[in-house]
């Protein structure tokens, strides 16, 4: 049964779920950022899989490009923040950043 029917969407959903799992369980800032990248890639995959062979091919790839660019912007800001946090707390473990509470 062709990969490009349901299975491609399974893959996209799997990637999305793994991204969420990574975000919810890992306490390391870098790995959390990577999980977000995974989720964004899942979205790209769905866009492209949906537009395969249709007239919206170009539209889908444009959207994919936009998402990649935004991912890049997010990654940059994210890493800058991680660096700032490291400078203050000497660790990238997110539980260290839990002083504001209540």
């Amino acid at each position: 049964m062709t990969f490009f029917g349901a299975p491609v969407y399974f893959l996209a959903v799997a990637l999305f779920a793994l991204g969420i799992f990574g975000f919810l369980t890992r306490r390391n800032a870098i790995v959390v950022l990577m999980s977000v990248e995974l989720m964004l890639n899942a979205a790209n995959l769905t866009f492209l899989a949906a537009a395969r062979g249709t007239a919206h091919v170009h539209e889908a790839s444009a959207y994919a490009i936009f998402i990649i660019l935004v991912a890049a912007a997010e990654a940059a800001v994210g890493l800058a923040l991680v660096l700032a946090l490291f400078r203050i707390k000497q660790s990238t473990d997110l539980d260290v950043a839990s002083d504001l509470k209540g």
Binding site: Y9, A12, F16, G19, I20, F23, A29, V32, L33, V36, M39, L40, A42, A43, N44, T46, F47, A49, A50, A51, T54, H56, A60, Y63, F66, I67, V70, A73, E74, V77, G78, L81, V82, A84, L85, R87, I88, K89, L94, A97, S98, D99, L100, K101, G102
Partner: protein, 478 residues
């Protein structure tokens, strides 16, 4: 040609201002230039909105067209960004030995992002608008990067923001997969037909609810508000909601009408979480943060009501009523929240003394003007009559009653009475502390003029909205 220029002006001007400011900053090393440039561009954006930038057709109008309500939201956002700029002019100077030129640039981009969302007629435009709105805010929260709280707040805000972005993009991809188009009008026409589209909208909605700081997604708000410098908090309190609601006004119609109970549930949950969260709080910024969660819930109540009609004719009515109510609420709440934070910023003057309620004890004797103005803003947040906040709450519950959801309206309004309790607590501390109790630390240095002007402007706004709601209603309605 001039029409297109005018049409894009509300978002083009701030972006142009930011870019030019950055260049001049790099070349001339004088931060003042960037600041005045931003002021000019934001003012230009406001003027262009009322100068007729709304409702015009033209190049790319299928992607971006500002309608009346969108125009008001953009103008509101630009106004609040302008006031935030004034508020922060010499707020940060004592801390960071020179005023970072980038702040005006970042402040200019925020209303641009909101303008994009407000005028978006394409799902991707909303996503990009959210990103353009959020990235500068992440930086602004982490402005005082030497302050652990600021960095921690920014990290939390950013990571959850990225998480939300993941949800939004995946939601959009599902929408595209089922409808093969991201044009909002097409999607609204297909609302409720395919479950995949509905799931996609729901995911998109989750991202927006995060930005609105509604109930289950609201945990970032107290930390971000408390971590950020007060002028930045003032900006966040007044503008993030405008962006989120602008998006919600466009996305909720995509949901099938029968899904309104979900929204109503989240609304009531938010009001409860916000009000109960703030009841025992001791730090003032966290109280106002939790109150913003409650206000988010109130706006959601109107949006849920807007969604709830089945037949199309009534649906159109209800949606316009909901958008009218929520736009009014945003402007009134924004002004009140901005004012409250403005007062705190003036009292703090860069230091960190006015953090807990204890510091406000006996304020009415030391700084009577500040105490009375703060009380006025708090009463407006509480929705007590002579202020704009009252009419905002009134219109929201009017929409709920119009949609026939009496019991939800009663539940919502009773919970909002709990909200008034903690505003009264702050007022009681300022005015009613016993004679002998020693007073909180006095703020040193004189009151910065631009900050005072900004706060007074917000006060006048709330007062005008309080006594003459018709003007703004008329503007939105047209």
């Amino acid at each position: 040609m001039s029409d297109d220029l005018l049409r894009f002006a509300p978002i083009a001007l701030p972006i142009a201002g930011a870019v030019l400011g950055m260049l001049l900053e790099a070349l001339l090393r004088k931060p003042k230039v960037a600041m005045w440039l931003t002021v000019a561009s934001l003012a230009g954006s406001i003027v262009s909105v009322f100068g007729g930038a709304t409702g015009l057709a033209g190049y790319g109008s299928e992607l971006y067209t500002l309608d009346a309500a969108g125009g008001i939201l953009t103008a509101g956002a630009s106004a609040f960004a302008l006031l935030a700029l004034f508020l922060s002019v010499n707020y940060l100077k004592p801390q960071d030995d020179e005023f970072p030129g980038e702040i005006p640039i970042l402040l200019a981009l925020v209303p641009a992002g909101i303008g994009i969302i407000a005028g978006a007629r394409h799902a991707m435009m909303i996503f990009l608008g959210i990103e353009l709105l959020s990235v500068p805010l992440y930086a602004l929260v982490a402005l005082r990067r030497a302050n652990a709280a600021a960095v921690e707040g920014a990290v939390k805000y950013f990571l959850l923001g990225a998480f939300a972005a993941g949800f939004i993009t995946f939601g959009m991809s599902l929408l595209f997969a089922s409808e093969h188009s991201l044009d909002l009008d097409a999607l609204r026409a297909a609302a409720g037909r395919s479950p995949v589209a509905a799931a996609g909208t729901a995911l998109f909605l989750a991202g927006l609810l995060f930005k609105l700081s509604a109930a289950p997604f609201h945990f970032w708000t107290p930390d971000a508000y408390e971590g950020a410098a007060t002028p930045v908090t003032a900006l966040m309190a007044s503008t993030t909601k405008i962006g989120a609601v602008a998006g919600l006004l466009k996305i909720t119609p995509l949901l099938p009408a029968s899904a309104w109970p979900a929204l109503a549930a989240i609304a009531l949950l938010s009001i409860a979480a916000g009000n109960f969260g703030a009841l025992l709080q001791d730090r003032v910024k966290r109280i106002l943060a939790y109150s913003s969660v409650a206000h988010a819930g109130t706006i959601l109540l109107a949006l849920a009501a807007g969604l709830s009609a089945a037949d199309p004719a009534l649906a159109a009515d209800l949606h316009s009523a909901a958008s009218r109510a929520s736009v009014y609420y945003l402007i009134a709440y924004g002004a009140s929240a901005f004012g409250a934070f403005g007062i705190i910023a003036i009292l703090e003057r860069g230091g960190d003394r006015f953090r807990t309620i204890g510091d406000f004890r006996g304020l009415s004797r030391r700084q009577p003007a500040a105490a009375w103005l703060l009380t006025f803003f708090l009463l407006s947040l509480g929705g007590i009559p002579p202020t704009g906040g009252f009419w905002a709450k009134y219109f929201v519950f009017a929409t709920a009653v119009q949609a026939g959801q009496l019991w939800i309206a009663v539940a919502g309004i009773i919970l909002s009475v709990v909200g008034v309790a903690y505003y009264l607590r702050i007022v009681a501390t300022c005015f009613m502390a016993s004679e002998d109790a020693e007073l909180g630390a006095p703020p040193q240095g004189k009151v910065p003029l631009p900050a005072l002007l900004a706060t007074l402007a917000a006060g006048v706004g709330v007062l005008v909205l309080g006594f003459a709601p018709a003007e703004l209603l008329g503007l939105i309605g047209r």
